[in-house]
Structure formats: structure tokens, C-alpha cells
């Protein structure tokens, strides 16, 4: 598998493999390859496989991405190439096979009723009731969809509580955010909560939030009583009766 080695003054700082998903490079700590230098943008560049080739792409960084001393917006990488970002350089080891597109193991299954059909109101009521009865028997029923509440435990927000009635709730300093943070140096869009059929999912925004003390790099389903921390704010996620 291909790998990237971050070097500073000829010393190895960090090594990361390039798998199916893009490797993010930048000053922000949530990058796969964080580069701690002021000349580096928060999200500076990324490296990924495309059609079996390894590609580097500059993410509109202020100071640019250089491959073998040539500034690039996007370039194919070869084994032994050197990417310069700020005062750091990244050695490219492109030996090994290109990975298959990444897969989380969850595979959507094929539909078994081939043609789409619509139920009329009566048939639909019967079918849902029948299914509900069946569900109760097999103990899957846990009641109707409940609306959750966010309670601000710490940090400064416009309100003390937020009822999560929207499909998408954003937390941040932006005037467009649902949960509006106050104070200096707060991110415009720190994190977001998506209401789905089976509950609420918290996902990162400009920051990686943590749930009950554990940072979450991707969306996770929230449970009653979870404590969310992001950008100096503490929130409690609860279902009220």
C-alpha cells in the first residue's frame, strides 16, 4: 500500500498509509496528516487514489502545494516524488497496489419487490397496523419517534435549550447556525446534528466534537443523556416525555 512520510529538517515526523479514502493534509488537528506550521492552511491539500493513480490536490491553500518544487493545483504522484508544504516535505512511496474503493461492510441489499407500488390510505393503515402488531410481538416496538432536546451545560449560546425539530441542526458562531455560539474565535459551523428515521446523528463540522469524552471523526447516533463537547461548549442530549 502506498504511504506518505512527513519530514521536517530530514527527520521523520509521521507516516500514514494511503488507503481507499483521501488523506487530508493541513494545520487543523483533524487532518489525517496534521502539519503544525503557520505557513500551512487548516485544510491545505489531500492525496487520494483515482483510477489507480495517486493524486495530490491543493485545497485552495494560501501558500500553495509544490511537487518536486513545481507549484500544482492537482498532479499525479509517482514513487519518490516530494511534496512541499510550508517548511515541511512529504516523501511519496507509491509502491504497492491501488486499493479498492473503501467499504464499511454495510451493503445495501437488493430490493425484492421489483416494481414500486403505492398503498392507498386504507390499505396503508391496515398494513402499518399489521406490521405494528407484528413488531410488538417480536419486541421491536419502542414507541413513536420522539423529539430530542439539547440543553446547554457550559459555554455561551443564545438560548439555554433547543428543541431538535429540524432535519438538520447546526452548532456554531455563524448567524445561520441553529445553536448560536457566542465569544471570540468560535468556529462558524462547529458541528451538526441530523435527524433521521432511527434517531439523531452528530457529525463533525469545522471541529471534531466529542460524545461522553470520546472524539467522533464521523457521524454517530446519539443516545439519551449523551454529553456533547465542541469548541468549548458542553451540551446534554436528552429525550423528554
Amino acid at each position: 500500500m502506498a504511504k506518505l512520510s512527513l519530514m521536517f529538517e530530514n527527520k521523520l515526523v509521521k507516516e500514514v498509509p494511503v488507503g481507499g479514502r483521501p488523506v487530508g493534509i493541513g494545520r487543523s488537528p483533524d487532518n489525517d496528516l496534521p502539519v503544525d506550521n503557520l505557513a500551512v492552511s487548516n485544510y491545505h491539500a489531500r492525496v487520494y487514489f483515482e483510477g489507480g493513480r495517486l493524486v495530490v490536490e491543493d485545497l485552495a491553500s494560501l501558500n500553495g502545494t509544490f511537487v518536486n518544487d513545481l507549484r500544482v493545483e492537482r498532479a499525479t504522484l509517482h514513487d519518490g516524488d516530494s511534496i512541499h508544504i510550508g517548511k515541511h516535505h512529504i516523501k511519496v512511496d507509491a509502491t504497492g497496489d491501488a486499493p479498492v474503493p473503501w467499504d464499511t461492510g454495510r451493503k445495501a441489499s437488493a430490493p425484492r419487490i421489483d416494481e414500486t407500488m403505492v398503498l392507498d390510505t386504507k390499505a396503508r393503515r391496515e398494513m402499518v397496523q399489521q406490521a405494528a402488531a407484528m413488531g410488538e410481538r417480536t419486541q421491536f416496538a419502542s414507541g413513536r419517534f420522539k423529539v430530542a432536546t439539547l440543553i446547554v451545560l457550559g459555554g455561551s449560546a443564545a438560548q439555554k435549550e433547543y428543541l431538535l425539530t429540524n432535519k438538520l441542526t447546526t452548532i456554531g458562531k455563524s448567524s445561520m447556525a441553529t445553536v448560536r455560539m457566542k465569544g471570540w474565535f468560535k468556529p462558524a459551523m462547529a458541528a451538526q446534528i441530523n435527524q433521521r428515521d432511527d434517531g439523531y446523528y452528530l457529525g463533525p463540522g469545522d471541529k471534531v466534537p466529542s460524545v461522553n469524552g470520546t472524539p467522533i471523526p464521523g457521524p454517530v447516533r446519539l443516545n439519551d443523556g449523551d454529553v456533547i463537547e465542541v469548541a468549548g461548549m458542553r451540551l446534554s442530549f436528552i429525550y423528554r416525555d
Binding site: 479514502r21 483521501p22 490536490e57 494560501l62 511537487v67 513545481l70 507549484r71 500544482v72 493545483e73 492537482r74 498532479a75 499525479t76 474503493p101 473503501w102 467499504d103 464499511t104 454495510r106 451493503k107 445495501a108 441489499s109 437488493a110 430490493p111 419487490i113 421489483d114 416494481e115 414500486t116 407500488m117 403505492v118 398503498l119 390510505t121 396503508r124 398494513m127 402499518v128 406490521a131 405494528a132 407484528m134 413488531g135 421491536f140 416496538a141 419502542s142 414507541g143 413513536r144 419517534f145 429540524n166 432535519k167 438538520l168 455563524s174 445561520m176 462558524a188 459551523m189 451538526q192 441530523n194 433521521r196 428515521d197 432511527d198 457529525g203 463533525p204 469545522d206 464521523g218 457521524p219
Partner: protein, 278 residues
Amino acid sequence: MRIASGGATDIGRMRANNEDCFRIVAPMSLFVLSDGMGGEAHGEIASALAVETVVKHCVEAQNNPAAPVFGGTQPGWSDKTKRLSSAVYLANRKIFESSEEHPEQKGMGATLTAAWIDGPRLSIAHVGDSRAYLLRSGGLQQLTSDHSLVAEQVRQGILTAAQAENSDMQSVLLRALGSQQQVEVDADEHMLFPHDIVLLCSDGLTRMVTEPEIAGTLQVETNPEQAATRLIALANDAGGTDNITVLVIRLDTESKGWFSWLRRGRKHANRNGSAGGN
């Protein structure tokens, strides 16, 4: 915000005809997608009629903002959200009336999912199980709730999401355009941020390709039309049991930041130079 969009539709690997239909009205930032159903060629008629009605109603409202609004709306909605909801309501009536007039079309119907962008505001209206997603900060957020039996069962706590994915009742819809004289339209609005990507797709994509795969493809392929084509290829690789339609809308800043003149200048210089492979 700067908007780049592209879409594609494909018959898939199992079906004899493509009953999906989509339209991009770029000057208005209006995006409409429909998945038809019904025997013979009637699914195609239904989805085409749905898309045409929605586009026409929105275009007319641009010229005549006082045009009547159909169906129920909420007072908090923007004019565009109300208009879009009204357009979908009207599309239902058109399909219903057409199938009343032409007995051979009985039972035809369609899903419809539409997005209209006005500055930083995104309006969404939908009926059926074609979805709208928002990709932001690497995570895919679902903006629509499917009007299907299995989705309703998940909302009621009868099925888990995993059980719903394996159910053989996935094609059973509780709401679609054309099945009744009136329809309840789901509409909503969201604030957009730079670098957001909006995805509209028919169930031919979402039943075949996982959300992480969709998110990854949208991040890697920055050209909207190519991203749509690649997602369709993934769905076909996974079996392509239904028609697949994908619409990708990318949002970017107009670059009015403090240093943008500097950045733009540099980028420009770079384009003229010899750098930049690929």
C-alpha cells in the same frame, strides 16, 4: 455563492426502460428529479409530467410572484419554499387528472424531489422515496424522510434501519404523486455554507451504494457531472436493479475574503505556468 451542478440518469442493468427524469434550470438554480412508476411506458409519462409541471410553475412564478400557491404551506417558509411546495402539489394533480382522463394510465405515479437555491438558502420539497442529501465536512446528512412503508416502520420503532435495508417491502410507498387527488408535500429549508454539496438521487442509487461510498465519491470527484456518472457506475457495479438518477450541486464562495485577490492572482499565475500535472 457560486454554484456548479451536473446530473446523469441511467437505465440500470435490470429494467427495460428508464422511468426516471431530471431537469437542471441553472439560471434559476432549480433542480428537479422524479422516479416514475406504472405499467407499459406510463411511469415515464408520469415522471416527465411531474418534472415539467414543477419547472413550469416555478418559472411562471419568477415572472408573476402573485401566481396562486397550491396546497398547504407554513408561515415561516420563504417564498421559494412555498412556491416549490406548491409546484409539487400541482404536479400531483396533473398526474392524477391525466390518469383519470386516460384509463390505460391508471395506477401511474411518480416520486418527486426538488431543490431551489436562493443565496445561502436551500429550499427542498418532496414526495416519495427519492432523496436529498447534504454533504458537509465529510458527512452525509439526509434532508428528506422517505415516504415508504419501511421508513415509517423505522420511525415508529418497529424496524431497525438495518432490518429496513433487508426488507422485501422496500418498494412499497405510502405517498407518491398521482395516486390520489390531493397529496401532502414535505417541504423544508436549510442554510448553506461554502463547500457544501447537495445531492438529489433516485432509490436506484441509495439501495445499491452505501452512504460512505457516496460521500467518498463526492469528495474525490470535484466535477459535478463526472461525480454523478461515477455514482451511477457504482450502482451498476452493485447490480443496478433499478433506474439510477443522480444530481450533484456544489457550492463555493465567491472569494470575497481579505486575501482572495492575492490568492486569485497567484492561482492565475500558476495556470499560465507549466505546473500542474493531470
